[in-house]
């Protein structure tokens, strides 16, 4: 049930970001790891910047206010995949 799964960022997982060309570097002090990400990962992370839990649908709706995401089903599938990858990296937590 991806639609009801919630994700959140934790203050302890705050990253320092630096954009170089079209790549964004994220330094994660808690793990000491530097991640290199490209759009839409930084944008997805931005939607969770207030540390409150959000569902894939909520994140999709927030992004859709600023970006043309195309068909909602495809976009939500992609957002969910990115969120799960971010959970695996320790940058986002399941809420």
């Amino acid at each position: 049930m991806t639609a009801t799964k919630l994700y959140r960022r934790d203050g302890a997982d705050a990253v320092t970001a630096c954009a170089l060309d079209d790549i964004v570097l994220l330094y994660h002090p808690r793990s000491g790891q530097t991640h290199m990400v490209i759009s839409p990962v930084p944008e997805i992370l931005d939607q969770l910047a207030d540390f409150t839990p959000a569902s894939v649908a909520q994140i999709h709706d927030r992004l859709a206010r600023s970006f043309d995401l195309g068909p909602a089903d495809d976009a939500m599938r992609e957002i969910a995949a990115h969120l799960d990858a971010l959970v695996a990296l320790g940058l986002v937590r399941p809420a």
């Binding site: 320092t16 630096c18 170089l20 060309d21 079209d22 790549i23 570097l25 330094y27 002090p29 000491g32 530097t34 290199m36």
Partner: protein, 287 residues
Amino acid sequence: MRHQLTLRIGPATFRIGSAWPAPVSQLASLYAAYPQPADAIADFTVRLQPTSLARRFIRPSIFITGDHGLADAAPMSLAHGLLAAEMGMNLQMALGWRRHLLLHASSVEKDGRVLVMTGESGSGKSTLAALLGERGWRFMGDEFALLDLDSGAILPFPRLVSLKNRAIEVVAGEVGAGRMGPLLAATAKGDIRHMLPRNDAVARMGQGAMPALLLFPRFGHAADMRAVGQAEIFMRLTQASTNYVALGEPAFTALTRFVRDVPARAIDFPTGEEAIAMVERLWEDMA
């Protein structure tokens, strides 16, 4: 250990101990112009010891170790003792230095600004730094460039220049035999001969300067020059650093600033002379 030498190179002080006299006496003579403060507190200890008691006398084999060691380091012949000492010092720096971000790069300075050159073994970065050091630039180092985490300056680490194979003849022809160490034939990396930096490079080894140009040299290809994207530069520099991960966020901040502020190019060249001409042109245009 029976034979010892304390040696300062740039900001680092090494105590080198050896079971045999030859590597220490060779080092003491080649590093004669460097501070050798016998009573100083050393940052690192390098030990050249026999692989076993018998190996001290019979076909002597050196095991390189010290404060930081690699368990699987291959033993070396005593004939290559000087190289073992140099590798020992490099190993301590690579594994233990924390005061600066260490970049596996050569560097030279002109008019108070630094040219940094990074690349793998065989890229020509050592040879280029050695040659530029004879032609109006100040040689700062051929192996490690030390990036200051606060100021962003590059600090020198001007140890002996380790020249391999074809580069030996090119550089020896330029500097003369008086500044060349003994030929170490048929080491694991081929023939190696060390070159002494000029005295002014040693005298000024405490003076850093801001970086103004980064090059990725590549020897043995037709002359070419390419821009390199910032993200690629960042990735290559983290790969070229032995302590980026250990230093944490200050290293991230210092390295991203370096990548953003310092213009960079990749250059291919077939000969040292062509490389020098390319570097001088680029320096005029970009730095």
